[in-house]
């Protein structure tokens, strides 16, 4: 008989599941509104156990208001830790449309994958993309349970765009991928990307899983996160390594540590410039690092403006309340919108008259400028919706 496996926590919105071997399936439930909730929780536990084919186990669950997907995630994790021969209960990936390559990504909102309280409602805050984390915010002892929980969140929640930050491929990354791709995220964030080889091996891994899970080939994007000295120097090869790479991101915390530097605007300038230039040279998007001092909105806005001025398209976010100020910085000003409108109008007129070249007041407008103008108008339209 194996040792009892405990998964989850007694935090709000979570549940704690303890599994031991038993002659038959035995379910024990404790909940704050026991009378109201017991049957519903039981149904979720039964369904999860049956999908895994488990019939000989005792599952004890103490609920603190966990939603169904959290209960399923915790129960499956506890069962699979107890019975290592079990394989994922989700046999098919869920139907989720692939995202668009050039979708607007002003904000990427991080949330730790092992904290249900912070994961609930993550899709509602208006972030352009959400990143569920399996890496730095998850302690080693919780890696296995967390990726299973994250798979269920991906299955249950409709996100505008959802990414998962996996662990490095040479640690837990391969297992992460095998689990969470069943939840069909729009993309994978690769931390500490240092070379094109890193990106290519991730892409190959994804390719295989896409084919075995029935996901159209090439539709899962990659966001390499550049956060080491070596990564910065190889920005261009990372950005251009694979078709799946639609955006690269900068991680300043690890970068300054790797450099032995202090985090100032100047100490980050070279890395930022390198990364933004590499992205623009390749024609993909680029997102700036997170700003960790939650209570300093002025600092956040100042740093976002620096990044915007350098050419970044967006910035990392660690709390929903950073979204609004960041969207404001990365949205076009009225003047920028007006200029973009003129450029697009001129282009339309040129096309109507069958002219090859576009000009405004005698100045020639080339293709990248037109593309930029079109994106500016798209952004402006988003802003006009008021962020709701």
């Amino acid at each position: 008989m194996s040792e009892a496996q405990v998964v989850g926590s007694d935090a709000k919105s979570d549940c704690q599941v303890t599994v031991t071997t038993a002659p038959s399936l035995e379910i024990q439930i404790k909940a704050s509104n026991q009378q109201l909730l017991e049957p519903g929780i039981r149904a979720v536990v039964e369904k999860t156990a049956s999908a895994l084919g488990v019939s000989k186990a005792k599952v004890a669950i103490t609920d603190r208001g966990a939603l169904d997907y959290v209960i399923s995630g915790r129960v499956e994790a506890a069962l699979r830790l107890t019975f290592p021969e079990l394989t994922s209960a989700t046999s098919q990936s869920i139907p989720r449309e692939a995202s668009e390559r050039h979708r607007i990504r002003r904000s990427r909102l991080y949330a730790p994958g092992n904290n249900p309280r912070l994961l609930i409602g993550l899709e509602l805050h208006g972030a352009d993309c959400v990143v569920v984390d399996l890496e730095d915010s998850v302690p080693l002892s919780e890696k296995r349970a967390t990726r299973i929980l994250v798979k269920y969140i991906l299955t249950a929640v409709k996100f505008p765009e959802v990414w998962v930050r996996i662990n490095a491929l040479d640690t837990y990354g391969r297992d992460d991928l095998a689990e969470i791709l069943r939840g069909r995220p729009h993309g994978i964030c690769l931390p500490k990307a240092e070379s094109s080889a890193d990106v290519i091996s991730l892409s190959k891994e994804i390719e295989e899983l896409e084919s075995s899970y029935g996901i159209s080939s090439g539709t899962t994007y990659i966001m390499p996160i550049i956060e080491t000295a070596r990564g910065v120097l190889h920005s261009e090869e990372i950005a251009s390594a694979d078709q799946r790479v639609v955006i690269i991101a900068f991680g300043a915390e690890d970068f300054t540590r790797d450099m032995g530097a202090r985090r100032t605007e100047k100490s980050l300038l070279f890395a930022r410039s390198m990364i933004v230039t590499a992205a623009k040279a390749v024609g993909i998007q680029v997102s700036d690092t997170v700003y960790s001092n939650l209570d300093d909105e002025k600092g956040l806005i100042a740093e976002a403006k620096q990044a915007r001025n350098l050419g970044f398209d967006g910035k990392g976010v660690i709390n929903p309340r950073q979204i609004e100020p960041i969207h404001a910085v990365f949205s076009p000003t009225e003047q920028e919108t007006e200029e973009a409108r003129q450029i697009v109008a001129a282009a339309e007129e040129a096309e109507e008259h069958g002219l090859g070249a576009i000009a405004i007041e005698g100045k020639m407008i080339d293709k990248p400028v037109l593309a930029r103008a079109q994106q500016t108008l798209e952004l402006a339209a988003l802003v006009n919706k008021g962020g709701w």
């Binding site: 509104n33 109201l36 909730l37 519903g40 603190r64 208001g65 966990a66 997907y69 249950a156």
Partner: protein, 514 residues
């Protein structure tokens, strides 16, 4: 018999013939107000007594009588338990207590209920007493829940005859003038009890700080007061007011607050002279803060704010964003201090702000109000009294009074509390009818009462996510298996009065689970 909302209401309850709820403003009172015995205190007479026991003797308090209290000392209250313990020691039985509200600190009352000292309660029961009553703790008659204004009306109308009113005051003079904003342990306004003081057979002011005549402001007046008792302890200053109330940090709740504030901005009501009710709940507080920021940005100055004094609205008053605070109860010490110091922070009793049978209520001057709910339903009915498990847990507060008066009543709720849906097909208990609820704001969008097409159009034009309650519920309920529902027996354990004294709903004993 059924009331206009289809809720089954008994015809009588003991000697009391019940009237059914017909609509928010359907009834017109035709009688005259209640009275109290005439009495004269002549120059030189002494009102000061040395103990609660002495007051009980002097007032003639005896078996079967009714005693009233206010709740301004909240969780720090030391008076209710002292008085009831004294009654028990003196062998009294079958008392009816008529508090404005009870708190967890009043758990010792349970033993007095078990021993027959207390057999009836009319008043809000927060915490253990409420749970005890709804789980089978027997009272001789059902509890009666009333709003702030409804309680005032019930006393004035003679629905509730008080034999002895015990009024805790943080400062009083020997002649019986008293208030809650001065003294050693100030608690904020105590005018909830003004109606008790005016109509009780005997009125007793209890204080731990007897000061030289005159003590003012005169929340309680000498002309109403029979006796003044001095005790060592009236309230625990650490638990009376909650330091500074915390604005919610939950991203979901902040989102609800932001959307509620944006709804106020889009409503067209937010202009100079805008009057609003804030409140002390985490979401209401955040929504009030956001509205305040919008006002400061556009230079809009509110006429008055109400809903309980908090540091947040006191700061807005001092920054010039609000001209006046009308204050019936203080939630933190900053509000109590401001009541002492700022002439534009004004004491107000529930008769002034909420009494249905009156020649006008301050709530009728409100443009917008943020209120909470434990449940709402598709008819926009709101429940604040019971939980989904059917247990009686919360008082009405000013919910009915404010919702009836405000031009735009905004209910802010999360769609789920833990695993429990907050939007339900039919609320367990109706506290406030949908006819006086305009907007329900959730983290998944806001729903507008169909009779407020004007608001729906404004919100849509402003780009706010207007949806139906059915859509919002369907989306949220996808995350949990539906909970079981309680089954109710015939036994009525509480009546929920509408503010005009009609019965809007009953709370029945839970007998099992569907």
């Amino acid at each position: 018999m059924k009331n206009v909302l289809g809720r089954e209401i008994p015809e009588r309850l003991g000697e009391r013939k019940l009237r059914v709820f017909e609509g928010a403003f359907a009834t017109t009172p035709a009688g005259r107000k209640a009275d109290r015995p005439q009495k004269v205190i002549k120059p030189g007479e002494n009102k000061v007594l040395s103990s609660i026991e002495q007051a009980i003797e002097k007032t003639g308090l005896s078996d079967g009588m009714t005693i009233s209290f206010h709740h301004s000392f909240r969780q720090g209250d030391r008076l209710v338990n002292q008085v009831m313990d004294a009654c028990a020691r003196m062998g009294m039985r079958d008392l009816r207590i008529f508090p404005t509200a009870l708190f967890p600190v009043h758990e010792p009352l349970i033993k007095h209920i078990e021993n027959g000292v207390i057999t009836r309660i009319e008043g809000s029961m927060n915490g253990p007493v409420g749970a005890f009553i709804s789980q089978g703790g027997k009272l001789r008659a059902p509890a009666v829940l009333r709003s702030h204004g409804g309680r005032w009306r019930a006393v004035e109308a003679g629905d509730v005859r008080i034999d002895v009113a015990f009024i805790g005051a943080s400062q009083a003079d020997p002649y019986g003038n008293a208030n809650g904003i001065h003294g050693k342990t100030p608690c904020g306004p105590i005018s909830f009890s003004a109606v008790d003081a005016m109509y009780a057979e005997r009125t007793v002011v209890v204080t731990n700080d007897l000061a030289p005549y005159p003590v003012y402001p005169f929340e309680i007046q000498q002309g109403w007061t029979d006796y003044v008792v001095v005790v060592d302890e009236i309230g625990d200053p650490d638990s009376i007011a909650s330091g500074t109330l915390k604005i919610t940090r939950s991203p979901t709740r902040l989102r609800i607050a932001r959307l509620a504030a944006d709804a106020v901005v889009a409503s067209g009501y937010l202009k100079d002279g805008f009057n609003f009710q804030g409140g002390a709940g985490g979401i209401s507080l955040a929504a009030t803060k956001f509205v305040g920021e919008e006002m400061a940005k556009d230079g809009v100055v509110a006429g008055f704010a109400m809903g309980g004094g908090t540091k947040l609205i006191v700061d807005m008053l001092h920054q010039g964003t609000i001209r006046t605070i009308l204050d019936g109860q203080a939630f933190d010490l900053a509000a109590v201090a401001s009541l002492r110091e700022d002439a534009n922070h004004v004491l107000m009793d529930p008769g002034q702000y909420a009494n249905y049978d009156s020649r006008g209520c301050s709530t009728y001057m409100l443009d917008a109000a943020f209120l909470g709910a434990t449940e709402v339903d598709f008819d926009f009915n709101v429940n604040v009294n019971t939980h989904s498990d059917g247990l009686l847990l919360h008082g009405i507060g000013g919910h009915q009074d404010v919702a009836s008066g405000s031009k735009m009543t905004v209910i802010t709720i999360p769609t789920l509390r833990g695993r429990l849906p907050v939007i339900v097909d039919r609320v367990t208990t109706v506290t406030t009818p949908g006819e006086v609820v305009d907007v329900i704001v959730t983290e998944r969008g806001l729903a507008v009462n169909p009779k407020r097409k004007d608001l729906a159009e404004r919100f849509q034009r402003a780009g706010l996510p207007v949806r139906t309650l059915e859509e919002i519920k369907q989306e949220a309920d996808g995350f949990t298996q539906p909970p079981r529902k309680p089954m109710f027996g015939d036994e009525v354990i509480a009546l929920v009065e509408w503010r005009d004294g009609t019965i809007i709903d009953t709370v029945r004993r839970v007998v099992g689970w569907e």
